[in-house]
């Protein structure tokens, strides 16, 4: 039954990912991406990563997708000129990933389930969010504060890049 959930989510993720690159209209691609984000969240739920699932929906489906949508509208992509000559590169990357998947499937041992069980015993039945909070604000305090700095840099970068346009309008 667990596998049934996994295969449903995995199939929809794979199918919508193909749609994202195959659809002619960039807006439809973005909507396919939205469906994909929701199913990735579903996949996290089957892995008992509820907090991650919520973050996936709030940040990816809620915020990042809007960003993508604005970028699509900003660039005003014409429907025919999207691919240029990217197919060979995409095929190369795709082939690499397929080979990797085949090797991983061939080498499949009991490692992954064991690791998952270890994690569940390690957090000792504490809630998902609680377990994250426990380590994030003690053991991983420094990365947490650095994350704040990185976001600050991202924000300044975005404003500097777009400032030119704002300045032109004011002048």
């Amino acid at each position: 039954m667990e596998q049934a959930f996994f295969f449903y989510f995995a199939f929809v993720i794979a199918a919508t990912s193909v749609l994202v690159v195959a659809l002619r209209n960039p807006i439809y691609s973005t909507l396919a991406l939205l469906v994909m984000f929701f199913h990735v969240a579903g996949l996290y739920v089957t892995l008992h990563a509820e907090f991650l699932a919520a973050v996936q929906i709030i940040v990816y489906a809620g915020a990042i997708l809007v960003l993508y949508l604005f970028v699509v509208m900003l660039l005003n992509l014409k429907q025919d000129v999207r691919y240029h000559r990217q197919w060979p590169m995409a095929a190369a990357v795709g082939a690499t990933l397929v080979i990797e998947a085949i090797i991983l499937t061939a080498m499949k041992g009991s490692t992954t389930p064991a690791a998952a069980t270890d994690t569940e015993t390690a957090i000792g039945g504490a809630g998902n969010t609680e377990a994250i909070g426990d380590v994030l604000y003690t053991t991983y305090l420094f990365p947490f504060e650095v994350a704040s700095l990185i976001l600050l840099v991202a924000m300044i970068g975005a404003i500097v890049l777009a400032k030119k346009d704002i300045g032109e309008r004011e002048a």
């Binding site: 900003l74 426990d134 300044i156 400032k163």
Partner: protein, 127 residues
């Protein structure tokens, strides 16, 4: 954990969400189907053109949008992520006490710098 246990666990925990998803899908499909079934169909060229609040459509809707939309989206993403960090913090707040409060004040302080920067640079203003 056997398959059936897992299924019943998911159904008990995620039934409200499932219910909501079903209703949302059903509402969308139902609205389209019913309006398609009951609408009178007298197509005319004027009726089939894009409706733009009564004025004549003068260009394609796919035109480049101003870059300031992107800034707003970017700011939204960044502050969204800030709020995400507040959730686990709020859950474990009683455990980490004062040190946790200081950590979060530093974190939010850095965001305040970003906020003031965006404000002073006029990124929050539309015109």
């Amino acid at each position: 954990m056997s398959g059936f246990d897992l299924l019943s666990e998911y159904l008990t925990h995620y039934f409200p969400i499932l219910f909501f998803v079903v209703i949302a899908l059903f509402f969308g499909i139902w609205s389209l189907v019913v309006s398609y079934l009951v609408q009178p169909k007298y197509p005319e060229p004027e009726k089939l053109t894009t409706y733009e609040c009564g004025s004549e459509p003068f260009s394609d809707a796919r035109m480049p949008f101003p870059v300031r939309y992107y800034i707003f989206a970017m700011l939204f993403v960044i502050f969204d992520i800030e709020v995400i960090f507040l959730y686990p913090w709020a859950v474990v707040f009683t455990k980490i006490e004062l040190i946790g409060l200081i950590e979060m004040l530093v974190f939010i302080g850095l965001f305040l710098v970003a906020y003031v920067y965006a404000w002073r640079k006029g990124a929050l203003e539309w015109d």
